[in-house]
Subunit: 351 residues, 2 copies
DNA sequence: TAACACTCGGAAAGCGCTCTCCAAAGGCGC
DNA sequence: GCGCCTTTGGAGAGCGCTTTCCGAGTGTTA
């Protein structure tokens, strides 16, 4: 029963039992040593670790989870609406810097905690129900929720089921769930006031879908700020956060309000689209029309001219979400709390 | 024992045992019905499903995995080198469209197969060893490997351990492992010939790190193609696939060869950086210098001018990797195979 | 009607681990 | 030297599920 043999693929892997036999103690003792529980005679301690090394033993997580009810896994669930159940949309979603930034932020925290991230997509209510069932069964210790649809039953189902969960972005309807969010209204205000301060007179906006919270807040924040400065009405065209939709929205905005000289776009990707349309239309940025984007994603610096944009500290937010979740998993009594981040304006060339 | 009670968080979840009791049969029968095994009396079949519905039963995956040795999970492991063990690099990696495209491609296949994806990062040899141990223990049914370092022991460890694995991008050293890859040399050739056909006389290249296979192949392919057309020597500056490094590389290239009129960049992100530097230097693209990028990522269409680029069908490749892995998991006897994709040139404004 | 081949459901043995109980051993004061 | 408390290791009962092995019941044929 040597180390080498355990590295070969055919061989049965060593179990606690095997280690116990090699060390000449009982299973229980090996388990205690490995989990560092109670005082075990230092001598035995050493003997056991030696046996572990010799056998090449690796604890079986499945078996351990079965009894401890802990998996060392956190799920990142992307809750999508049924209408988007087809691939193309999801592909676009994953390719969006948004997704990567969230994953990066989460991993920075989870990795150090030795927790792995499992990706889950649910697109139907059936799927949501199954997911919550699996989660309650201990499939994962907790879940980070990225909710895309305007109305989503998932947050409620999760809290009802007692599943530790943290949302990125607030839920549409009030639900006693942990979440981290950005002060979207403030961000929109920042953009509006910058455009105004710059001397723009006819300012428009390209928004996201009006029914998702983040998007809604950016619209209302922008409207409110503009109104405060005497602009009771502003032209708004809606997109869906993709570059293509930004191009299209810019076209409609341009035909509706040809004299535009300032523009706030609800995310950088759409702003890049707008930039393209504008260039096509022969408008110079920022001279003819000044643009402020939103997110400060990689698209902002890649754009020409580089985008002045509202910084959305997604990585930090995701990291905080992970910390919140870990804390909640540790302490089930923890009450729902939320953390709101303040956006800042990043000045570049576009405005 | 009603449905509602099982949805409350305090309550113990129903087990097979509970369902059996409600249905008035044995655990074994319920298990058979649920897994659709053997002929069970249609009547009982119905009774059991009814009991499942009434109790709100969800099978416990952990317990099931423990005995079936199947988890319904595939791991996406990002194998990084120790030197990059700090967060910043990883964050950048996740934000890169590359990562998102791979995840999107994988999920499109895995999702339909009802398999979940677990994200794992390993940065040390210690970590790699633990990972392989966990994997052999059935932590996941198989693994998709994204290997970043120039020399990486992981592929070998995986095959030695008998862990079903598929790499995205060929391994540095020959290892009997499944992989999907792009004909990088061909891609570079496509770029070189397009630049040449366009009439460029002094063509340079911005490459990635010379020691990683994909990058290496793009360099050698480019060099070879240029040599075939009488350009025995081409100026090359290396970056590391980030936009910043592209800007820097462009600057050095510009000082070394100020008369450049054509440029091949090993990925779009760096091409965008090059574009920025070029603009700063007052060179027009494509009039003064024509640029061909690589990847056809979202950065290519976002750039101004939009990038002519070599299309890297990453989503398709990742999807194929997932299919290959699933097949390998189904059939352990399957021998290592690889699929090489042919790149194509996408014409836009930059060249 | 008896013998046989089938079909179908149940009992029970694990999968690999944790952890509660319990017994044995050692240390202490009186 | 004896009883009592503390430390330490082992036995064993599960965690929730699958699956083999059997026995009972049913239908079929000689």
């Amino acid at each position: 029963m040597c180390y080498k043999s355990f590295m070969q693929q055919g061989t049965r892997l060593p179990t606690l039992e095997d280690v116990a036999r090699v060390a000449g103690v009982s299973r229980a003792t090996v388990s205690r040593v490995i989990n560092g529980i109670r005082n075990v005679d230092p001598h035995l301690h050493e003997v056991v670790w030696d046996a572990v090394g010799r056998t090449g033993y690796v604890p079986n997580r499945m078996a351990r989870s079965l009894v401890t009810r802990r998996t060392g896994t956190v799920a990142l669930v992307v809750s999508d609406s049924e209408s988007h159940d087809d691939d193309p949309f999801m592909s676009r979603f994953f390719a969006d810097p948004y997704f990567g930034r969230v994953v990066g932020g989460l991993m920075s925290v989870l990795r150090q905690a030795g927790v792995q991230l499992a990706l889950q997509i649910v697109g139907t209510d059936e799927g949501r129900k199954r997911l919550v069932g699996d989660l309650r069964n201990g499939q994962a210790d907790g879940v980070i929720v990225l909710s895309l649809p305007a109305v989503d039953a998932l947050p409620r189902m999760l809290t009802d089921g007692g599943v530790p969960a943290v949302m990125i972005g607030r839920p549409t309807e009030p639900v006693p769930i942990n979440y981290v969010d950005l002060a979207n209204e403030t961000g929109a205000t920042l953009a509006a006031e910058h455009l105004l301060a710059r001397g723009c007179q006819r300012i428009g906006m390209i928004s996201g879908p009006a029914d998702v919270p983040a998007s809604h807040d950016r619209i209302s924040g922008f409207r409110r700020a503009m109104a405060r400065h005497g602009h009771g009405w502003v032209p708004i065209a809606a997109g869906n956060f993709t570059q293509d939709s930004g191009e299209a929205a810019m076209r409609t905005l341009l035909t509706e309000s040809p004299d535009l000289d300032g523009l706030f776009v609800a995310n950088d990707l759409m702003a890049v689209g707008a930039l393209l349309t504008l260039r096509e239309a022969g408008r110079r940025v920022p001279d003819d029309v000044a643009i402020v984007g939103f997110d400060d994603s990689s698209a902002a610096t890649a754009a020409a001219p580089a985008l002045t944009t509202v910084r959305h500290p997604l990585e930090d937010m995701a990291a905080e979400a992970a910390r919140l979740l870990l804390a909640r998993i540790e302490d089930p009594e923890m009450r729902a709390s939320s953390v709101i981040y303040e956006p800042t304006l990043v000045l570049r060339q576009s405005a």
